[in-house]
């Protein structure tokens, strides 16, 4: 009978040579490390492409238009357009926002009748709209206040200067961007999504390997010996754990450094997180592989669930706003504690003490899935493997069992 270590080596060899799973274990993470980051290379929207509708055409509104055009936050593609033309530009995707100055703006502003400069954005793309509002609010407020104060001062009112002076005060809120210094989208999206990518790729790889083995007329030894044996089951998933751990280090280290993403801020914690995450997803992969056996729908199940996993992890939408049943569902995915833990350890520099709840969660998930996989695998006991078949053939031929099979 083969030793667990021999099974480990045979499984590792299969992981990197068997075409049913090798693309997942060898190529997929490397490919995604660059492909997924590709659209986010700019990190932030470069400019707010805007058109200005000036329905007032007064000295005050012209001054306001000049202030907005001078602002580096906006790239005004057209000013003085009418509303239908601006909406047409937005429909064609030429601009992403419309700034409107209403008619009688000057008259209303100077007579104390409330009036407003409007910024219209596309609410279908909320994150971009938020960026635009955030970037535009200070510019528009300042431009409007300057314009009004200028006109009031021209009327001889000294309070215009005072209003300007108040604008020069310290900012109301100083925001310190933590762990993602430039508030870049690449750093934000990729570091979260990569945990889900790891999970999907490793689960697919392990499930495809097991599916391939289960589809063979004679099962390979590592699979047969693992039925009902925790030691051999562990030998079966240990290569996947090693491969997953390697790719975690590669992405969090080399790939993120290449892309300029903050990572490895706490090295021991990141390594621990990578190790526990590899354990949890390998165990889950083992369970799914054992359950699906030679059914061909494992990839369907894994990939379909991967996209929602990003959103139930609590990193895009606050955890306390997610309904209890969705949280309960999320609890069973290794990506939930995995993404939190990796963000904390690698990006935020949390210490092992600070991430231990996530580590315990992943350890616990791994144990549960491993035990379940062991229980499932016991059902398959008695199904024959390579060595057993070879021994049977040898005994039928009147020969002693092959001594090499007991290495």
């Amino acid at each position: 009978m083969k030793s667990p270590f021999a099974c480990f080596l045979q499984t590792l060899r299969a992981c990197v040579t068997d075409m049913s799973c090798a693309p997942f274990f060898l190529v997929a993470v490397l490919f995604y490390a660059f492909y997924y980051c590709w659209p986010y290379q700019a990190q932030l929207p470069e400019h707010i492409y805007a058109a200005i509708i000036d329905e007032d055409q007064s000295p005050l509104s012209r001054r306001l238009v000049q202030s907005i055009i001078a602002s580096p936050d906006f790239r005004v593609l057209k000013s003085g357009v009418d509303r239908p033309a601006a909406i047409e530009m937005m429909k064609k995707g030429e601009i992403s926002s419309i700034i409107g100055i209403p008619s009688d703006f000057e008259k209303d502003a100077l007579n104390g009748v409330p009036t407003a400069i409007t910024l219209v954005t596309n609410g279908a793309f909320l994150v971009v709209a938020r960026m635009q509002v955030s970037g535009a609010s200070a510019v528009l407020a300042r431009a409007a206040a300057e314009a009004v104060a200028f006109r009031v001062a021209m009327d001889g009112e000294s309070v215009g200067d005072l209003a300007l002076a108040t604008l020069d005060n310290a900012p109301l809120v100083v925001t310190q961007a933590m762990y993602n210094d430039i508030s870049g989208y690449l750093s934000f999206a990729v570091s979260i999504v990569f945990v889900i990518i790891f999970q999907s790729i490793m689960l697919c790889g392990l499930c495809m390997l097991l599916n391939d083995w289960f589809s063979r007329p004679v099962y390979p030894d590592p699979l047969v010996l693992s039925f009902g044996s925790p030691r051999y089951l562990f030998a079966l998933i240990a290569p996947v754990m090693c491969i997953c751990f390697f790719w975690v280090l590669f992405v969090e280290g080399f790939a993120f450094a290449w892309h300029g993403i903050n990572s490895f801020q706490n090295i021991p914690a990141t390594l621990l997180c990578g190790g526990f995450f590899a354990w949890a997803i390998s165990s889950l992969g083992l369970l799914i592989g054992m359950l699906f056996k030679n059914s061909r729908f494992a990839i369907h199940a894994i990939i379909i669930s991967s996209l929602p996993c990003v959103f139930i992890s609590g990193n895009l939408f606050p955890w306390n706003n997610i309904p209890v049943y969705a949280r309960l569902l999320a609890w069973f995915f290794p990506s939930t504690p995995g993404s939190d833990c990796m963000l904390r350890a690698s990006q935020a520099g949390a210490t092992p003490d600070e991430i231990y709840p996530y580590l315990v969660h992943m350890l616990f998930l791994g144990i549960i899935y491993f035990i379940l996989a062991w229980l499932v695998s016991r059902k398959y006991k008695g199904e024959k493997g390579e060595s057993a078949m070879a021994d049977q053939e040898r005994s039928l031929a009147g020969l002693a069992p092959d001594p090499r099979s007991s290495i």
Binding site: V113, N122, F125, S134, L162, G349
Partner: protein, 397 residues
């Protein structure tokens, strides 16, 4: 005269055969139909009304004056921010690093003194920018509150000059900025993610569905029976095979439309027909790519890998998060070669800008082209490859 009739008769035969095949496989029903619907409902339900509420923020007041207490009350009244009192900045920042809170808000000592002396004080917010969506919401919420408080301060300052309430009001309230977020004024993440993530999920499921339709014949070694059912017409074999799947995913897409506009209450300003057409065309694009993938993949596993690789990571290229004009030229062009990009953009135009069919010329033409190109390459290849497989099966039997 009989040719079209026999074509349709054969199509019906293949259609019925495919329906039976779907119905008889529990795996197909579970993973190509129930699983996507289940995940659509989970994504829909998990966002609630899509408004970020009471995101936890550690609050440290080092000034402890009536003014700072008033600020804390005003911020607490804001729906986005849930303040939790902390005393030690160090431990609050540790909590931020550990992910227990989304931000740390500090009122520094001397804030009230600086404010009253006219120098102005600043609150300090440490925001976890790795959880960008929440951090952005915190910034917007906090700025709203502080701007309102600041306007009151300016009003009081101007009053002190003896300018009188009229001029004071004129300065602070005459001009303000209004922000309109078309189609999603309340800034709901449900509208944002519902409009992007769910169509993406449907298209991934559709890709698997279309591929499974072809792969099932390989699994069961029934390619020859499938082609025989089509009477040897390959066009019938492909259309008849994909039609039931197309119908199922069209129904799921319409279910999503009903969910989004009906249950979600997002008011669609353009014609619903145009929206549905975009979805149907996108499904046809995925069916066309599935033909190409099925033709080119040497094994069924490779076909599923290629299908997943094509459909799953397409979302970032649509411009839903970072605008397309901020992407590099190559990434933008690549994004435009993906049907999901046109679906997401076109759907947003219909939803928020009220685009009619005439306005949607570019997306519709692009999507039509994206049906034609993969199908025109994939169908002849599939005919050759599956034809050989059918012959092999016949020889083996």
């Amino acid at each position: 005269m009989n040719a079209p009739c026999s074509w349709f008769a054969a199509l019906c035969d293949v259609f019925v055969r495919e329906i039976k095949g779907i119905y008889q496989s529990r795996g197909i029903v579970a993973f190509c139909f129930y699983a996507p619907v289940f995940w659509i409902l989970v994504v829909w339900a998990l966002l609630g009304n899509g408004i970020i509420q009471k995101a936890k923020v550690a609050f440290i007041d080092n000034d402890r004056t009536p003014l700072t207490r008033e600020i804390a009350r005003a911020i607490s009244a804001q729906e986005y921010i849930g303040l939790e009192s902390w005393t030690d900045p160090r431990s609050a920042l540790d909590a931020l690093a550990a992910g227990e809170v989304y931000g740390v808000l500090l009122i520094p000592a001397g804030y009230t003194r600086d404010s009253l002396k006219g120098r102005g004080g600043s609150l300090v917010l440490w925001a976890d920018e790795n959880r960008y969506a929440v951090a952005g919401t915190l910034r917007v919420g906090l700025n709203e509150v502080m701007s309102a408080i600041h306007i009151q301060d300016v009003y009081a300052s101007v009053l002190k000059t003896g300018a009188g309430p009229t001029i004071s009001r004129r300065l602070i309230s005459a001009v303000h900025s209004d922000f309109y977020s078309l189609g999603n004024q309340e800034g709901s993440f449900l509208g944002f993610l519902g409009g992007t993530l769910i169509p993406s999920l449907i298209m991934i499921a559709a890709m698997f569905g279309f591929l499974t339709a072809f792969l099932r014949e390989l699994w069961h070694k029934s390619v020859s029976r499938w082609l025989a059912c089509a009477g040897g017409r390959f066009s019938v074999a492909i259309v008849g095979k994909l039609l039931p799947w197309y119908f199922i995913y069209s129904l799921i897409f319409m279910f999503y439309m009903a969910l989004f506009s009906g249950e979600g209450g997002f008011n669609i300003t353009g014609p619903v027909f145009a929206w549905a057409l975009l979805g149907f065309l996108c499904l046809a694009d995925f069916a066309s790519v599935a033909i190409l993938i099925a033709a080119l993949s040497p094994t069924w596993r490779m076909a599923l890998v290629a299908g997943a690789g094509y459909a799953a990571p397409a979302l970032p290229f649509t411009g839903f998060s970072i605008p397309q004009d901020s992407m590099g030229e190559a990434a933008r062009i690549f994004g435009e070669c993906l049907p999901l990009t046109w679906l997401v953009q076109g759907q947003a135009d219909v939803w928020t800008l009220g685009s009619s069919l005439a306005d949607l010329g570019a997306p519709l033409a692009a999507m039509a082209l994206l049906i034609f190109i993969p199908a025109s390459i994939g169908a002849p290849l599939l005919k050759i490859i599956y034809g050989k497989r059918a012959m092999k099966e016949e020889r083996a039997s």
